[in-house]
């Protein structure tokens, strides 16, 4: 049992961040790119070693995978009981996340070497990537909720920096601000949740919180607010933080706009790693949710289900390929949340938990692949919009094949990775909530439809004339595509139920053909519809959208959620709250201050003659009066 090298997983990206950020510009851009990539390669290797060691060498202790504290040191001591540690916690989900993050991040690094070539701020890009990797890795191996919060915020910052990477573009700046403000708002809830939780349990430590000892929650019994128990509040508030990062329904508005960042960033942050932080958070705290706040879990499942349906519907109407992918990400994360929400604890009951983590793993592979493929297409066509594309399969053979694999995977075609995980999710949903199962079933079809709408529009469809012939991307970009394609094909064969489960004890999972066959069928139906509508250029899609009329418009405008937010902030908050407050501030508060100022000015104008500006004289008066005071106090009184 020796994980002393795991500390390097954190330190190397931090070191490359410092190096590239501080002195990177002194060298040729490629130097910082290579340093970042090699650093990531090293920690990817380390992460694989750690996973190997954890799962296969050390293995289970007493029938379950233990929670190993690989390193821990005290950082802040608030009271003797409440102290904040910084350390490394290894358990199945954190080890799995290490593998996911390092793999995707490494691929993205390699890909960026080609994609960002010649961009201004190349080394800045790589330093931000390193910062992001550092903070994301720190987040998943956090031993306690406070350390997680610190890295959580760091992740937010690096996401902000990366979205606003093209800071000379107004839209990018606006998008980065939007992302930052929305997630910050959610993190406020998270922080309050942390404080509530730690106030009652007197600990931040995950090992204690999720351990078998439930007596720490004794103090929460009977404490309630607005009809809900305090633990439900805490869990909901914590989930609010997760929902902000994972872009769940009311807080999802930042993710589509975040596509303003460079495409590798979208792949890394807004598809594979950061947005699943919310899922990870709920998974990490799962025992707390399950035993202490089952109501919150129900909320989570409904929010997840609604988001997945809602986002899938919007994705069917969008034309910007990155936005389609963004909405599909939303939808898939909704899936994961839902699976967590309907999961039980222990054994086969916990299939939802396992399925959620499984789907997270697969999703990271194929969604990163989709985004990188999209990046490759954008690189070739210099446009984000579907209408500018068509018939690209001849020009971009490798991208075409890998993109097709990813689309098949996400559509749930049998024997590709997502087929297995999606099936498990549907099983879990079917067992606990028929309504949500129906929703997810529908979403499975929608997913297949919009993904193939995208695919046919890009690679088949009308013959577009390009200003210059699109050409396949360089090796640095296609190799990650191929590796990720392999990942998305074969990741499904990992026996997840043996490795990552809710109580860390392995169980047997079976294919449920009663659910798998219909879900495959609806997926194939979606693909078929897309094939009919978009294989050749035709007028049918337009007619369909016309016939749907207002509903189509509403979906196309993302159900006007952004507008609702604008209405609430601009019209209601600004007018009804901010205006009166501003008036009060300007007239009452400032008026008082001005009055005091006026009194001070007039009175001081009259006594300013006493201030001679003669320093020695001041000193003399000061010492002399001190002496006189001493004389008075010691001899006279």
């Amino acid at each position: 049992m020796n994980y002393s090298l795991t500390i390097l997983i954190l330190l190397i990206p931090f070191a490359t961040f410092l190096f590239n950020g501080l002195v990177g510009m002194k060298f040729k851009p490629i130097v910082s790119g290579l340093i970042g990539t090699i650093g990531l390669g090293v920690i990817t290797l380390l992460a694989y070693l750690t996973a190997w060691q954890y799962f296969f060498v050390d293995g289970m202790v007493g029938g379950s995978f233990p929670k190993v504290i690989a390193m821990s040191m005290e950082w802040l001591r608030l009271t003797d009981a409440l102290r904040i540690q910084i350390g490394i916690l290894l358990d199945p989900i954190s080890v799995m996340m290490l593998v996911v993050i390092t793999t995707v991040s490494f691929m993205v690094h390699i890909y960026s070497l080609g994609y960002m070539k010649g961009e201004k701020g190349f080394e800045r890009f790589f330093s931000f990537l390193s910062l992001f990797s550092f903070s994301m890795l720190g987040l998943v191996i956090a031993t306690n909720i406070f350390q997680m919060y610190i890295f959580w915020e760091l992740v937010g910052v690096s996401s902000f920096l990366l979205i606003g990477f093209y800071y000379s573009k107004d839209s990018a700046v606006a998008a980065s601000k939007k992302a930052f403000i929305v997630t910050r708002f959610a993190d406020l809830g998270f922080l309050i949740g942390i404080l509530l939780l730690s106030y009652f349990t007197q600990t931040f430590d995950f090992k204690v919180l999720t351990g078998t000892d439930q007596s720490i929650f004794a103090q929460t019994a009977g404490v309630s607010f607005l009809g809900m128990s305090v633990m439900t509040w805490a869990a909901l508030l914590i989930f609010m933080g997760g929902a902000g990062k994972s872009a769940m329904f009311p807080l999802h508005i930042w993710l589509p706009d975040a596509m303003e960042g460079p495409t590798p960033v979208s792949a890394l942050i807004h598809a594979a790693t950061m947005v699943v932080a919310g899922v990870f958070l709920v998974a990490r705290m799962f025992p707390v949710f399950y035993f202490q706040a089952p109501d919150a879990l129900t909320v989570i499942s409904y929010v997840g289900g609604f988001t997945s349906l809602f986002a899938a519907a919007i994705a069917c109407t969008q034309y910007d390929i990155k936005r389609v992918l963004a909405f599909s990400t939303l939808s898939q994360i909704g899936y994961m949340m839902l699976a967590l929400g309907v999961s039980g604890y222990g054994g086969h009951e916990g299939v939802g938990y396992m399925a959620s983590m499984f789907h997270l793993f697969n999703h990271a592979m194929f969604k990163a692949l989709l985004f990188l493929g999209a990046g490759s297409i954008i690189h070739a066509v210099h446009s984000n919009v579907m209408q500018d594309m068509g018939g690209l399969r001849k020009y971009l053979p490798i991208t075409h094949i890998t993109f097709l694999i990813a689309c098949l995977t996400i559509a749930g075609v049998p024997f590709l990775s997502a087929f297995f995980s999606k099936d498990e999710i549907l099983v879990a949903a079917y067992e606990h909530n028929k309504l949500l199962f129906a929703v997810e079933f529908l979403v499975a079809g929608l997913t297949a439809f919009y993904m193939f709408r995208l695919y046919f529009n890009i690679f088949w469809g009308k013959e577009t004339h390009y200003h210059h012939t699109p050409h396949e991307s360089p090796k640095t970009m296609t190799i990650p595509l191929m590796i990720l394609a392999l990942g998305s094909v074969f990741a499904g064969y990992i026996p997840f139920s043996k490795l990552v489960t809710s109580d860390s004890m392995p169980f047997e999972s079976h294919m449920d053909f009663g659910i798998a066959i219909p879900s495959v069928l609806i997926g194939l139906t979606g693909i078929l519809i897309a094939w009919i509508l978009y294989k050749k250029e035709s007028k049918i899609p337009e007619r369909i959208s016309k016939s749907l009329g207002g509903f189509y418009q509403a979906v196309y405008h993302k159900f006007y959620i952004d507008e609702v937010y604008m209405f609430i902030t601009k019209k209601i908050i600004f007018n009804c709250i901010a205006r009166p407050v501003a008036w009060f501030d300007r007239h009452i508060v400032d008026g008082t201050m001005n009055g005091i100022g006026w009194i001070t000015v007039t009175s001081s104008r009259n006594i300013k003659g006493m201030q001679s500006g003669n320093l020695p004289q001041y000193g003399m008066v000061f010492v002399l009066s001190a002496i006189i005071l001493v004389l008075i106090f010691s001899f006279l009184i």
Partner: protein, 168 residues
């Protein structure tokens, strides 16, 4: 007479004489030199009470740092031929009066009070003790003042650079 007593009175004599000279000499660089003597003699005090680190700090920061800074500013602002004018009589009288009365008062206070020297075993003042106490957070830990001083020094450094910078 024991040697250390002799040494003490020697150092005291240097301190007394040189501090008077510091404020009475008419050439400014000589004042700085006398100040240097006072500070070095003070470092001698610290060596005598076995606080060697304190003495080292006194030498590095006061004698090697502040006095050098002062001499530097003298080099920049004064010419060798310049001598102080005699202070006005009023000021001179007031200054001496305040100084003497204050000294008399404090001497009386010191002599009237009976100090009770402690017989507790002296603490070993090695680097380990200083380091752990300076950065400790518990009892006898000075981490907070240490950090505050660090911030203050940073602020002072930035302030000094901004103030002394030549205008554009």
């Amino acid at each position: 007479m024991a040697l250390n007593v002799l040494m003490f009175y020697l150092l005291s004599a240097v301190i007394v004489i040189c501090s008077v000279l510091t404020i009475t000499t008419t050439r400014i660089l000589r004042a700085a030199f006398y100040l240097l003597c006072v500070l070095v003699a003070t470092a001698g005090y610290y060596f005598m009470v076995n606080y060697q680190f304190m003495a080292g700090v006194q030498l590095v920061l006061y004698a090697g740092g502040i006095v050098v800074l002062i001499i530097f500013s003298i080099l920049l602002t004064s010419h060798i031929s310049h001598k102080f004018a005699k202070p006005e009589a009023m000021r001179l009288v007031m200054g001496i009066l305040v100084g003497l009365s204050g000294f008399a008062l404090s001497t009386i206070a010191i002599l009237k009070f009976t100090f009770t020297p402690s017989n507790a075993p002296a603490m070993k003042v090695d680097m380990q003790a200083i380091g752990t106490q300076l950065l400790g957070t518990g009892k006898n830990g000075y981490a907070l003042p240490f950090e505050v001083i660090s911030i203050l020094l940073l602020a002072a450094m930035i302030g000094a650079i901004i103030i002394a910078k030549k205008g554009k």
